[in-house]
């Protein structure tokens, strides 16, 4: 992309300096050669020898957990495919930086990687932008039906498959089973029930350090997920049938007021407005809270031998606002996609399919803290022996719901984040922040269609 511009600039510079009579022809030639070398080295990849082994580059985020399962899996793949070598490169730590890295490189046209790990919310955007390969012809639909439907949905755009499900996630409620049992409570089905349980347990325990309900209220994607789950629990959603954001603004305000009420009433500490997954997981893991909204990754940490809450944590669906309306947890996770212009599409697809296969997902579940997208693995006797909560997580995931599958999701979410945060910390009223968010998104999305 840059090459032609650079060259004309170089030519211009050379011409100018020659006309000034300052530079010999030799000097100009040297300069030109140097510049064109620069241009070549900047844009061309290393030349690949024909017939030699094919090298694929896999870009993935660090897989959390006690052991990184990726190197062993890639070694297995290489052993079974003698003509293919895999170079695994780790993406930056934060999700925002990962996306920025991928967007800039893919938009540039020569990304330098063949297979990439995508947060499920990016798949439609990358498909719409024409950066990733349509996998529909290479992946039979029977292969997809083994995954959770919400994961398959997240990898589908305009009826075609763009990415293979790899890692599964779902929002759920952790509760202290020992505390609830001590006061004769069942896991709360509704918010009023949960608030009542918090009141009774905290006054009964007499521990000023014991918080009630922890959730993620910092200005980031996690806040949007928490609000989205609130919207679902209130019977509405974020993006309506007609593509409008907050199709029911009154209910959206109601949800924001409810989240504020959690803080005002003391059921949630004020610092949740700056909290993410880890800063809420730690206090709960130290036994300093009764309830926590988080993802399944935390359960393995709570059950570690040195954990203060080992054996005292239960998993439940998120509470409803009122009886009758279901409250699905938001599903999340990662997919595998293939770069549109990869030189080795067949090999790249083969690698993606291998990594999302039952064998690879079993290995990842056994050694890491990730959960598989393949439903059958949640009943795998060997895996269940290692993490007895798997069947429970399976049921909760089945009840989960994917975030709006639209190419504009990131645009919508990043626009909402400061507005939702403003409502939580009372810089704006809920009505004002909902109105501002809608106005802004209508301007940003005004002529974009699916």
């Amino acid at each position: 992309m840059i090459a032609p511009k650079e060259k004309t600039r170089a030519r211009k510079a050379v011409k100018l300096r020659c006309s000034a009579g300052r530079m010999s022809a030799l000097g100009a030639a040297v300069l030109l050669v140097n510049l064109s070398l620069l241009v070549l080295s900047g844009c061309g990849g290393p030349p690949e020898s024909r017939g030699g082994p094919v090298t694929l580059v896999l870009k993935h985020a660090k897989i959390l957990g006690p052991v990184d399962p990726i190197p062993r899996l890639l070694a297995e793949f290489e052993a079974e495919h003698p003509g293919i070598r895999i170079k695994a490169e780790v993406l930056p730590w934060s999700s925002d930086e990962q996306r920025q890295f991928l967007v800039i490189n893919l938009e540039g046209g020569r990304p330098g990687f063949d297979v990439m790990m995508l947060d499920c919310i990016w798949v439609p955007e990358f498909a719409r932008a024409g950066w990733i390969l349509d996998l529909t012809p290479s992946v039979p639909s029977a292969e997809l039906s083994a995954h959770f439907p919400s994961a398959v949905e997240a990898g589908t755009y305009r009826g075609r498959t763009w990415a293979l499900p790899w890692i599964m996630n779902v929002g759920l409620l952790y509760y202290r089973s020992d505390l609830l049992a001590r006061y004769g409570f069942q896991p709360p089905a509704t918010y009023p029930e949960m608030l009542e349980q918090i009141r009774v347990i905290r006054s009964g325990e007499g521990n000023p350090k014991l918080e009630g309900y922890l959730w993620q209220g910092k200005q980031y994607e996690g806040l949007v997920v928490n609000v989205l789950e609130g919207l679902w629990a209130d019977g509405t959603t974020l993006v309506g049938e007609d593509g409008r954001v907050f199709p029911d603004p009154e209910r959206a305000q109601h949800v924001l007021r409810l989240l504020r009420m959690l803080i005002d009433s003391g059921a949630s500490p004020a610092w949740v407005t700056a909290a993410d997954e880890e800063s809420t997981r730690r206090p709960f893991g130290n036994g300093e809270a009764v309830f926590l909204r988080s993802w399944p990754y935390a359960v393995d940490l709570f059950e570690r031998p040195d954990s203060p809450v080992r054996g005292k944590v239960g998993l439940a669906p998120l509470p409803r606002h009122e009886a009758g309306v279901p409250a699905p947890g938001s599903t999340g996770g990662a997919h595998l996609a293939v770069t549109r212009h990869t030189r080795h599409p067949a090999e790249a697809i083969e690698l993606a399919r291998f990594l999302s296969s039952t064998r690879a997902q079993r290995a990842m579940t056994a050694s890491g803290a990730t959960k598989p997208t393949r439903m059958a693995l949640y009943a795998d006797p060997e895996l269940v022996r290692g993490s007895p909560n798997l069947p429970r997580i399976h049921d909760l995931t089945l009840g989960g719901r994917s975030r709006p599958v639209t190419p504009y999701y990131v645009m919508i979410s990043t626009t909402l984040q400061p507005e939702l945060s403003a409502a939580l910390v009372k810089v704006k009223t809920p009505a004002q922040s909902v109105a501002d968010a809608r106005r802004r998104l209508e301007f940003l999305l005004r002529d974009l269609h699916e």
């Binding site: 600039r9 211009k12 510079a13 100018l16 300096r17 006309s19 000034a20 925002d96 920025q100 967007v103 938009e107 955007e125 719409r128 932008a129 910092k218 200005q219 004020a270 610092w271 407005t273 700056a274 190419p407 990131v410 645009m411 990043t414 626009t415 400061p418 945060s421 403003a422 939580l424 910390v425 810089v427 704006k428 501002d436 802004r440 301007f443 940003l444 002529d447 974009l448």
Partner: protein, 299 residues
């Protein structure tokens, strides 16, 4: 021959000299044009477009982006944050910088060591400074809360504390710049002036307001010019420390432009914000240059 005949030969030579001068200037002019004029014009042009490359949207829109910004609360909040940050941090830096310079002058020994230590803060990359302050401000383990007697202030998470926290970090980082400039000027003031003033009965306050301040006035103006332009464009500190949060209370215009350009990939809207920053910086620079010209400091 030199001054006598205004003949045709000399004119031609003069003309040739002028052409040669222009030719010699050309590389500089072209470089400047390519590096500053071209991007500026391009950004202004972009700001009149609706352009979202990843979705293939690209059409002319006129002033639509500006019309949206004019009614955009987030934009006006960013203007407010930028102006507040600039005024507060520059004011504190100047007052603190002069005080530190005076203290340095009064120091009998160790002023060189103190100066080098001060410069250390100035020499640190601002991302490093930001990371440093992230730890200092940590609500649970931070030194700031510990030094304040173990309070539990949530510096970067509280919408009322985040901006003051950022300003403090910026002052810590750039105060040495003002100090060094002032200190250099202070050393050049002859001691006799103060002695004479003392004989005339001037106290420390009078000799500061009547002698020191007027003499460092010009260098202060220059320091303020640099610092103001820097502060108006500041990005790294807030980007690393707060990312513009909580609730947009530390989002400056440059962070807003970045978020529009790189997160929402709205090249038109982001460029419009960039043009506003550019206009703001130019207006301030122009006002300062006028003031400096009155002082006889700039051509």
């Amino acid at each position: 021959m030199r001054s006598g005949r205004p003949g045709a030969g000399v004119t031609r030579r003069r003309r040739r000299a002028r052409v040669q001068g222009l030719v010699l200037l050309a590389p500089a002019l072209v470089t400047l044009g390519a590096l500053t004029l071209y991007p500026t014009v391009w950004v202004v042009w972009l700001s009149l477009q609706r352009r979202i490359p990843i979705f293939g949207v690209n059409h002319f829109e006129g002033l639509g982006n500006y019309a949206f910004l004019a009614a955009d609360p987030r934009f006006w909040k960013a203007v407010e944050v930028t102006v507040l940050f600039t005024v507060a941090s520059v004011a504190l830096e100047v007052v603190g910088g002069v005080a530190a310079a005076l203290a340095l002058r009064g120091q009998r020994w160790g002023s060189r060591v103190a100066l080098s230590l001060l410069l250390l803060a100035w020499a640190l990359p601002s991302v490093v400074t930001a990371k440093l302050f992230e730890w200092l401000y940590n609500p649970a383990a931070g030194l700031v809360n510990y030094a304040l007697g173990g309070v539990a202030l949530n510096w970067l998470g509280d919408p009322r504390l985040a901006l003051p926290g950022l300003i403090l970090a910026d002052v810590w980082r750039t105060l040495p710049f003002v100090t060094v400039l002032c200190f250099a000027r202070l050393l050049a003031i002859p001691a006799e002036i103060y002695e004479a003033a003392q004989l005339d009965g001037a106290g420390p306050v009078a000799s500061f307001t009547r002698i020191t301040l007027p003499l460092i006035r010009r260098i202060l103006l220059i320091a303020v010019l640099f610092r103001t332009l820097d502060a108006l464009r500041s990005f790294d500190l807030m980007f690393v420390l707060t990312g513009g949060g909580p609730a947009g209370t530390t989002e400056t215009l440059t962070v807003y432009a970045y978020r529009s350009l790189f997160q929402a990939v709205q090249l038109g809207l982001g460029s419009a914000v960039g043009v506003v920053v550019f206009a703001l910086v130019m207006a301030v620079a122009w006002a300062y240059l006028r003031a400096l010209r009155r002082e006889g400091l700039a051509a």
